[in-house]
């Protein structure tokens, strides 16, 4: 029985490559894949609160790829693969593979440059090629987004690299812009003071850069007051939603109204009406 197994293991599959060599090579790659996963899990658990998520993911990928690459090179060596042969075969194979994998290589190189240049990071809120959402992962070939309405979007890295990228959270603060209309009969100075008070009382409306409130335009129906407020980028959306309503409520409490669109019509002649008043 044992002799049969030994014979089977020593049986040559191709030239000098035996079954044993093949098994060892496969085993090395499988162990490397498992080890890479274990290392990734260990690193995520250990460094979760100590390293930023995007940095951690890049480091994990780098280590994973290194482990797998070393294992594959070793396994190929076990199978008698001579890398010096690549120099000769590389010329022809390179042309063939190059044509076949043009877009893959393009994406790969773009992915490497994206990881070096880092215009986006995992977790960032971005807008790329008409897609807006959170960056879920930056892989070597493609980047995945989770749109704000929860859709999964995969974008090839080459497209990201050549497309304009809007990163909403790259800077620590972001401005909120409103235009608030009040009636012509309302006191604009008082309205500005009320709006400034509301902003001052709101914690996420930054003290510096100072908020700016001013009469921007004299509109058809109202006096338009421009409001510019800076907020921490992490609180920007919540602040934008909440502040406008607070301003509206406070203005109304002070007797000022946001007018409806209106038009004054002048008649050339006296307007004649034919109305009957019914008396009981």
């Amino acid at each position: 029985m044992n002799i049969e197994i030994l014979k089977l293991l020593n049986m040559h599959l191709y030239k000098k490559i035996s079954v044993l060599d093949m098994l060892v090579s496969v085993l090395v790659v499988v162990v490397a894949l498992v080890a890479a996963r274990l290392v990734a899990a260990y690193m995520r658990r250990t460094f979760k609160d100590k390293i930023r998520k995007d940095n951690l993911e890049v480091a994990i990928k780098l280590i994973n790829w290194t482990i797998v690459a070393v294992a594959v090179i070793y396994a190929l060596g076990e199978l008698g693969f001579k890398f010096s042969g690549l120099m000769v075969a590389g010329g022809i194979a390179g042309v063939v593979i190059g044509f076949a994998s043009q877009s893959i290589v393009g994406n790969l190189i773009s992915g490497i440059f994206l990881m070096i240049e880092r215009p986006i990071k995992i977790g960032d809120q971005v807008s790329i090629n008409d897609y807006s959402g959170f960056v879920e992962d930056i892989r070597i070939i493609s980047t995945t987004l989770r749109t704000f309405d929860g859709l999964y979007v995969r974008i090839p890295n080459e497209k990201i690299f050549t497309a304009p990228i809007v990163n909403y959270v790259n800077h620590i603060v972001r401005r909120i812009d409103y235009t608030v209309g009040i009636r012509y009969s309302d006191d604009a100075d008082k309205a500005i003071a009320v709006i400034k008070r509301v902003i001052d009382e709101y914690p996420f409306a930054l003290k510096y850069p100072a908020p700016v409130v001013f009469v921007e335009t004299l509109g058809d129906n109202c006096v338009n007051i421009a409001v510019r407020i800076w907020a921490p980028v992490a609180e920007w959306y919540g602040a934008k939603m909440e502040l406008l309503w607070r301003i509206k409520i406070e203005l109304e409490r002070e007797g000022m109204e946001i007018p409806f669109p209106q038009r004054v019509v002048w008649f050339g002649n006296e307007l004649k009406t034919n109305a009957q008043v019914r008396q009981e």
């Binding site: 620590i172 603060v173 003290k207 510096y208 800076w230 992490a234």
Partner: protein, 236 residues
């Protein structure tokens, strides 16, 4: 309100209502401040004690930044190579801790102080800070210890010319708060190194004798403190 208590407790002060009581095998923590309520059910606790003390004012309304920006209401001018001590105020947050078998767990943080943020520096490279506007004087101001604390700030001008100081930014990682029955206090230093640059640091010394040292929130969170000093490079 500050101090160490055995469970159960029931406290009321300046609009704060706080109680911790045993219910079956659990401990129930309740706190109300205005419309804001907090309630926690603690399982497996109850033999420990409750510590209530002022903590680094950097946690509310959100844990966004570890930096505190003190905006001086009046400018301080300091002569060449001079050093002097001024008193300023800082906001106080109140931390409730459960201390049991050598372990400290944060139960709650709340504040009566005004909450506001600001940017130190420009929008591209600036630093988000908790904002506090403070009077500046050569004597300690009176401060309600549940609202604000008093900081003794030693200013040192290391330059050869007059400098004007309008603000100070501190890292929360180095803050050491002390309290007694009258006030919450902290000591800090600010060394002016240029017309627009300075380095700030908090000192591990009480403002007065026999003051109790606060349990630090960053210690309770088991964070490693690496940079307690702060280099102000965007204006002073």
């Amino acid at each position: 309100m500050y101090g160490t208590y055995d469970i159960p407790i029931s406290l009321q002060s300046e609009g704060i209502s706080l109680s911790i009581e045993r219910r079956d095998d659990a401990v129930v923590y309740r706190r109300q401040l205005g419309d804001e309520k907090a309630e926690k059910l603690l399982l497996g606790g109850g033999s420990g004690s409750i510590v209530i003390n002022p903590v680094e004012p950097l946690n509310l309304p959100r844990d966004l930044t570890p930096y505190l920006y003190l905006d001086f209401q009046s400018t301080v001018a300091l002569g060449p190579k001079m050093s002097s001590t001024v008193f300023v105020t800082f906001p106080v947050e109140i931390g409730v801790f459960l201390q049991e078998r050598g372990e400290v767990e944060i139960l709650d943080i709340f504040t009566l102080a005004r909450q506001k943020y600001t940017l130190y520096g420009d929008p591209r490279n600036g630093l988000l800070c908790r904002y506090w506007s403070t009077p500046v004087g050569t004597t300690a101001p009176s401060a309600g210890r549940l609202h604000e604390g008093v900081m003794e700030l030693k200013l040192a001008n290391g330059t050869g010319s007059w400098v004007e100081v309008n603000k100070a930014v501190f890292s929360g990682y180095g803050m050491k708060l002390f309290y007694n029955d009258d006030l919450v206090g902290m000591r800090a230093e600010m060394e002016v190194t240029g017309a627009t640059t300075a380095q700030t640091d908090c000192r591990d010394m009480p403002l007065k004798k026999h003051m109790m040292k606060s349990l630090e929130l960053y210690t309770a969170r088991k964070l490693v403190v690496l940079f307690p000093k702060f280099a102000m490079t965007d204006g002073i």
